[in-house]
Point group: D2
């Protein structure tokens, strides 16, 4: 149904990433999809709707922040899973244009992979009348933790 093609990652890793992503209630409630992954990079897409809107009918800034955060986190997870995973320690996001359009696309990538901390960045685009427009820029610090036994099952 959705286009979750994950060409260059091994099968076990891909499953681990999708299983984690699909168990995030907040992202699922918005119909967010992992639309692309490669080592150190990740793309998440999200259709417009009432549940992701703000008062002017655009994508909500918090929604934009959430998928930017997720895109950076899953970019890091491509390098960490299934052995480890990451938690967001902090992120900073600039909203640079209104989120006007029918689809939101966040592209995250790892900027520096340390043993305990990973720094990632993401750009968020809004698609309006077939054109992608940059609407947000994020920089983020992720904390690496062992993947719990419960998650491994």
């Amino acid at each position: 149904m959705s286009n979750q093609a994950i060409p260059v990652l091994d099968h076990k890793l891909a499953l681990s990433l999708l299983e984690s992503f699909n168990s995030q209630g907040a992202l699922m409630a918005w119909n967010a999809r992992l639309t692309s992954m490669s080592p150190g990079a990740c793309e998440i897409s999200l259709p417009f709707g009432q549940a992701v809107s703000q008062q002017h009918g655009y994508f909500h800034g918090g929604v934009i922040g959430t998928i930017a955060d997720a895109a950076g986190g899953y970019a890091a997870n491509t390098l960490l899973m299934p052995v480890s995973e990451c938690l967001t320690a902090e992120y900073k996001i600039n909203i640079v244009a209104p989120g006007l359009g029918d689809t939101l696309i966040a592209r995250g990538k790892v900027l520096k992979a340390g043993k305990t901390l990973v720094v990632a960045g993401a750009e968020v685009f809004v698609v309006h009348e077939g054109q992608e427009k940059l609407c947000a820029i994020m920089q983020q610090t992720l904390f690496v933790i062992p993947k719990t036994t419960a998650d491994k099952n």
Copy 2:
């Protein structure tokens, strides 16, 4: 039904704030409520549920970021509305503890009110077994714009 007591703000301002808040589809979908406001400060509360969860069953980091952002923004709006309002230029948030609990409470306040830019901060608490625990700290820059004619109607 909800406890949207706004004791110290004038009636027109309070209406303007609530009307703006209640027209944010993303916040409404989560049953977020403006639970307190005073000049330069704002509190938003949010019950736990599937649509605000992440993969471990806690409040999602993006949800925490969203209500922190909203709490800072509406804290600024208490000083700006109904003449002006603000847009988020950027925010930075540290997640300092897992969002485990039944209610999320964000308390925003204005740290510096400039003519064009407002700097606000917010602390987010998660309520677990009746105890509030700090789970996130945010710092934010807001951009002041005139309230549009459409919004005033």
Copy 3:
């Protein structure tokens, strides 16, 4: 000569903090001083001069950022030294007023002390004609490391 009173910290900790501070060439070149410390908090002061100025004759934004970063870091070090110390993982600073004055004062405090990460904040004030004015607000993530043998000597 300078007022480096450290009333509430024990002697060994105070020595460790001062030794570390005084070995920072950049801070020494500016005549920065640790003017107050208590558990989880720290104050650094800095006199105006050509070497800390920008093009309009104010304190340079980078200097303001530097002492904010240092104030947060030494606030954390009051809880960590002499066993451990911290490195700055990242910080975010808002400059909220021009740095016009004769003295810069940064007050840092620990907002959340974790085992591996410490979140601190700092406010920076500029003293002009005897009045303190808020000029910057910082939020920061510090990374805890063991104090090296070399440093302990």
Copy 4:
């Protein structure tokens, strides 16, 4: 003496940028140099020395932050001067490796140029034994102001 080649900018703009840069006492005290500029981009270099060091003999984190901030600001100024200029509203920087080396190089570029706000980024590298190594990543918001009459003279 220094290699301040500014190939693609017009003469008046280049003079305006250099005049501004060279009047920053803090950067001059460190022997910082504008080593490259093009529309929307800027490179600043800085030799190692006692006055830019921290307690372990590396480049100080505050110094790294300062030239990252300056690199982003002058990247923006290439698009603004001589009509306007910019002030730093805020920046966020991740230190990703120790600043060990003989030269620090910051490369800033404009990520989004708005009318009132400009978002810029910078990467900072440290040169050690002839090799450049990434040591910091910055994201920044700049505020556009008219260039004052005094500055224009």
